[in-house]
């Protein structure tokens, strides 16, 4: 296993991005794309190896690595900041998911990206580094660094290759996330400071900060730190009052970027909530669990209702994304093994499904140059393959049994229903879950409505020439469909990766 190095996994994309961007590299679109695609494929296979050699029953970090400077010291020794990476139960899934979706996004980039190829592919690879860094860093400072680094390529990806009010959307996305990270930075510094006060050691190591939690931080400070982290992740997830960047960013981003945005970036919020808010502050999450559940239910129902009223295909998918991320919150709020497992699984499910749906939106937009429902219709006759893929994705999204969305929803509903994190009648877990269950009707309504409006019914004459999926699109969608069906039939294939971790997490909560 010597050949499995996280450093290589994380920094290889950055180096390749540099190679692509260097003036020595040929400025030919095809060469650039093939090179990037090939590299992402290798990266995906390499990350798969990590998953294979990962030992799920081991709840701590694995593949630990720390980059030392020349004098064999840590990166910023006086403040206890180190360049250390590691994988554990929740990050291993996200690492593979990231490389997988980056590969698919690059495959799907052929038609939607028409200018500045070198810059585009290198930015995507920088983004990959940032995301891999977020999920694997074992140092809070490093985590924050990657968290911010991810914004830079994202800003350019949206504002250069986007459509519509792209600068506005990109700026909104960046400012929103900055707004959230500000609170997180405050939380990180407070945490570090209080750790220093109590132990006399400056450290940003996540392990140290997580497992030495018994030192005494005043309650109010703890709550402040918790909320600081929470706001940052709430923006990213997104949670309802802080969600308005998402429709803009999704609608104006180019298709592959939308895929990555929905598929991976939103998951960073969920990852953060589990990694920091739950693992680091078990006693606070118990206090704030009712808030999580209520916000989750609001997310689910509110966004579903909004999706019902949308006239734009991409906006509909964007709001359905928000609605589905509410399930993650609901599952987390349950605070039991099954709920948190469900939340994790929902992240996977949503990543696969929404990436596919955004790809479909891109496919349709390429053919018709419109995303407004009233201009579409009857495309199923000329684009049968797209129709069947969309149907599969829509059915998976509305939680059809034996597809990936269902297992997640069942786990979350079950977890939330049987948990006791709330008491009272209206504010009981049972009532809130029942309320959230209404969403399965609304979700079905808007997704089937979407299917009907786009693919069914009478066809406009002008779409007669719309062509079916190109090989690239078909391959990308097939790649997405395989895990959707596979993990729908056999969810334990994934859950077994992080189940011991979650078990450990929940047993810590009980302390």
């Amino acid at each position: 296993m010597e050949f499995l190095s996280l450093n290589i996994l994380i920094f290889a994309p950055l180096i390749v991005a540099g190679i692509i961007l260097s003036p020595l590299f040929p400025n030919d679109e095809i060469i650039v794309r093939r090179f990037a695609k090939g590299f992402s494929g290798i990266l995906f296979i390499y990350s798969i190896l990590f998953m294979i050699f990962f030992k799920p029953y081991n709840t701590g970090y694995q593949f630990k690595e720390t980059i030392k400077l020349f004098s064999n010291t840590n990166w910023i020794e006086p403040l206890g900041i180190s360049l250390s990476f590691g994988l554990d139960g929740i990050s291993v899934m996200l690492v593979v998911l990231t490389t997988f979706l980056v590969m698919l996004a690059l495959i799907a980039s052929k038609k939607s990206i028409t200018t500045k190829h070198k810059l585009y592919y290198s930015l995507i690879l920088v983004l990959t580094t940032a995301i891999l860094g977020i999920v694997t860093s074992r140092d809070l400072f490093l985590f924050f660094l990657f968290w911010e680094l991810e914004l830079i390529p994202m800003y350019f990806l949206i504002s250069i290759w986007g459509t519509g009010k792209k600068e506005y959307s990109a700026m909104k996305f960046v400012l929103y996330t900055f707004f959230g990270s500000l609170f997180m930075l405050g939380g990180i510094l407070l945490l570090n400071y209080f750790h220093f006060l109590n132990t006399g050691i400056y450290t940003f190591s996540i392990e140290a900060l997580t497992y030495s939690r018994h030192y005494d931080i005043p309650f109010i400070v703890k709550a402040l730190i918790f909320l600081g982290f929470f706001i940052a992740f709430a923006v990213k997830l997104p949670i309802v009052p802080l969600h308005t960047w998402l429709p803009n960013a999704h609608v104006d981003a180019p298709t592959p970027v939308s895929m990555l945005l929905a598929g991976i970036l939103l998951k960073m919020g969920g990852y953060g909530l589990i990694r920091f808010n739950t693992q680091m502050f078990p006693e606070m999450i118990k206090i704030f669990a009712p808030m999580l559940i209520v916000l989750g239910v609001i997310n689910i129902i509110y966004a579903a209702f909004i999706a019902l009223a949308q006239k734009d295909l991409k906006l509909l998918i964007a709001y359905s994304s928000i609605s589905h991320m509410g399930f993650v919150l609901l599952g987390l709020g349950a605070l039991n093994t099954i709920g948190i497992t469900g939340a994790m699984f929902q992240m996977l499910a949503h990543a696969l499904i929404s990436a596919g749906l955004f790809l479909i939106v891109g496919v349709i937009y390429l053919r018709t140059k419109t995303r407004i429902f009233s201009h579409l219709g009857g495309l199923g006759q000329v684009m049968p393959k797209a129709f069947y893929f969309t149907m599969l994705l829509a059915l998976a999204s509305l939680g059809l049994p034996l597809l990936v969305g269902f297992a997640a929803e069942v786990m979350i509903f079950y977890g939330a229903f049987t948990s006791n994190s709330l008491d009272g009648f209206i504010l009981s877990n049972q009532f809130m879950t029942a309320l959230a269950a209404i969403s399965i009707i609304i979700t079905a309504a808007y997704l089937l409505w979407m299917l009907q409006k786009i693919f069914m019914g009478n066809m406009f004459e002008k779409w007669q020439k719309a062509y079916d999926l190109t090989p690239q699109e078909a391959i990308a969608l097939t790649f997405l469909s395989i895990p959707i069906v596979l993990f729908g039939l056999y969810p334990e294939g994934v859950t077994s990766l992080f189940l011991p971790f979650v078990d450990n997490l929940v047993s810590n909560l009980a302390l």
């Binding site: 497992t341 049994p401 786990m411 399965i440």
Partner: protein, 645 residues
């Protein structure tokens, strides 16, 4: 026979394999031949049918046994959901019904769909439905039922929307799925609640979670934990599933629209099997429902009202498939009514007889529609008995059966009426009898309008092929006889009555049999037949003395009510148009202008703040000086204040 019992998984697995074979065969263009799809579909069902027959015989011989086998599907935390198969008398019976009807309908479909572009797609969907339905029938626990419950729903969605380029079909498919989702939502919440209130029992007793075999004990525990009110809500949630699936009021409107699908689908899914799954689930959940008398009352009245209202609607329908659809709805109401009053066996008996004769009726109507080039309106039919006698006579058999005139429907309906009579529920009995009268009336009306008199249409007529008529003839046999066979009259040759085979609790032994009720219902059915004949049959039209016009004149509001289907659809549309959509629009506007508006306001206000500050930079050096001094003074003041404090 043990072999079939132990390998019962073959029955649903074969259709699944066929589905995958057709799917991948079509994706990779392995074959073009239509017979391969047909062979895969019908072959898998045929093997299933044979095994089901063996299983049924095994169950008849060993009536008290039930076999189940489970595989752990999801094992996370304390959640251990299993999928498996359960074979008991009820399942065995249902297996035979489902496989036999499916088989015949698949053969029939070949004739019906031969010219269609989507032939392979049709069979793929069909076989997918078969898989889901069989797995639903065999499910061992409520959770598995839920999974396949939704899968049959989605197969139904796919098949209703088979001709997706027709806007009405697309609309109907969506409607069917969404209304079924309402039921699913209730079922899901009910399941979760049941599980929640009896969780400790399940975990301590090491049973399969939510398995049907021990649902009674869990249910009573849940009742103790939850109290009667919450338990009632729970059971109501569970009841929502069957209400939606079996098209009971108020969630019945999808069934009539579902007739947009190809007619074999209407026969298979929307008459014989899937809609009956609601009643089947009620039977499976009987131990839970039984614990809450209020829910039983609700069930009774839902059934009774559905039976009555659907029958009144069927009276005036001119579309032959819609007429049959409302008839299905009405008959399902009978079954639910029977389940509600505790006539468990009678309800299921009616389910089975109804499955056969209604499937046959739909297939007949399909043959008629097919031969008249997709003409569905009965006003443009007539006199078809001379052209397609086989279809006409089989339709007549079905009509007699459903009207309760001696053929199979008579026996099962009689059992329901009898249990109402025994329990002294006179009001319900009267409703049921009125419904029976209307049933006879509208069925004979449709028969007369289609097959008797003169041909009123213009469409070119062409004879249906043999592959379509042979299944009709085969289906006519059980339609006619199955009631009699299982009525208990043949006990002497070893075939016991239905309620000694499938029962709840303990077998009902001969209650006192009076001849009053059968005669009464026969008279009522005959009256319906006569009324229909008077109005619609040429040979009896001499008796027609303007009474129809009188009816139309004096009962026109009622007539309107009936043709407009009691305004349920309009009500639903109004509800959606003026409640749901405005709410979502409102929330959307709120989101766009209030929440996002607030955020943008923050952004814009920053811009204006910047502008305001930049006013200071007007180029006048004195302004800069003032600003600098003010800042200096502010800083000094703060420093001073800090020192003072």
């Amino acid at each position: 026979m043990e072999f079939f019992i132990n390998n019962v998984w073959i029955i649903p697995a074969l259709p699944l394999w066929s589905f995958l074979l057709i799917l991948f065969g079509r994706i990779f263009n392995v074959y073009e031949n239509k017979y391969i799809s047909l062979a895969l579909t019908a072959g898998s069902t045929f093997i299933g049918f044979i095994s089901s027959i063996f299983i049924l015989f095994y169950c008849i011989n060993n009536p008290e046994t039930s076999t189940q086998y489970n595989i752990l599907w999801l094992d996370t935390g304390n959640l251990k959901f299993s999928i498996g198969w359960l074979v008991d008398n009820l399942a065995a019976m249902m297996l035979v019904v489902v496989t036999s009807i499916s088989l015949l309908i698949q053969i029939y479909s070949h004739g019906y769909m031969e010219q269609d572009k989507g032939y392979h797609r049709f069979f793929a969907y069909l076989v997918l439905f078969n898989f889901s339905m069989l797995a639903l029938v065999l499910s061992t626990n409520l959770f598995q039922t839920y999974i396949f419950w939704e899968l049959v729903g989605v197969s139904s969605y796919l098949l209703i929307g088979f001709w997706f380029y027709k806007p009405s079909a697309a609309q109907a498919a969506k409607k069917a799925f969404i209304i079924n989702r309402i039921g699913d939502c209730g079922l899901l919440v009910g399941t979760l609640a049941l599980l929640f209130y009896s969780l400790n029992w399940w975990t301590s007793s090491q049973n399969i979670l939510l398995e049907f075999a021990t649902l009674g004990q869990a249910g009573s525990l849940a009742l103790a934990n939850a109290g009667p009110v919450l338990f009632g809500l729970l059971a109501l949630g569970l009841l929502f599933g069957p209400i939606a699936k079996s098209a009971q009021i108020p969630l019945h409107t999808w069934l009539a629209d579902a007739m947009e699908g190809p007619t074999p689908i209407s026969a298979l899914i929307h008459a014989a099997t899937m809609v009956a799954a609601g009643v089947y689930l009620i039977a499976r959940l009987y131990p839970v429902f039984e614990l809450s008398p209020q829910i039983m009352t609700i069930m009774v009245w839902v059934g009774a009202i559905t039976a009555f209202i659907a029958a009144t609607i069927a009276i005036t329908q001119t579309d032959i498939k819609k007429c049959l659809a409302y008839s299905t709805c009405s008959q399902l109401g009978y079954m639910v009514l029977a389940m509600g009053v505790g006539a468990y066996s009678a309800g299921l008996f009616h389910l089975i007889t109804h499955a056969y004769f209604k499937a046959m009726l739909f297939l007949c109507s399909g043959a008629v529609i097919h031969s008249l080039a997709d003409q569905q309106n009965m006003k443009y039919m007539g006199g078809l008995r001379k052209k397609i006698p086989i279809v006409a006579y089989t339709y007549l058999i079905g009509t007699l059966a459903i009207a309760g005139l001696f053929l199979s429907g008579f026996w099962s309906k009689e059992a329901i009426l009898l249990s109402l009579y025994i329990q002294g529920k006179n009001l319900l009995l009267i409703i049921a009898l009125i419904t029976a009268f209307m049933t006879a009336y509208y069925m004979f009306r449709s028969y007369f309008m289609v097959f008797e008199g003169e041909y009123r249409g213009h469409a070119h007529f062409h004879k249906p092929s043999k592959i379509m008529t042979v299944p009709l003839i085969i289906l006519a046999v059980p339609s006619a006889l199955i009631g009699f066979i299982f009525s208990g009259s043949l006990k002497s040759i070893g075939i016991g009555s239905f309620d000694s085979f499938i029962f709840y609790g303990h077998a009902l032994h001969e209650a006192h049999v009076s001849l009053f009720l059968p005669i009464c219902s026969l008279i009522i059915a005959t009256l319906g037949f006569l009324l229909a004949g008077i109005i619609y049959w040429d040979k009896l039209k001499s008796l027609y003395c303007n009474c129809f016009k009188l009816v139309e004149k004096y009962f026109s509001p009622l007539y309107k009510l009936s043709t407009n289907k009691w305004y349920f659809d309009d009500f639903n549309n109004l509800l959606i148009k003026y409640l749901i959509l405005p709410i979502s629009e409102l929330i959307s506007i709120f989101d766009k202008y209030v929440i996002d508006g607030f955020i943008n306001l923050c952004g814009i206000s920053t811009l204006y703040k910047g502008k305001a500050v930049s006013l200071l930079q007007n180029g006048n050096i004195q302004t800069y000086l003032v600003t600098a001094l003010l800042s200096f003074i502010a800083i000094i003041t703060v420093v001073f204040l800090i020192y003072i404090i």
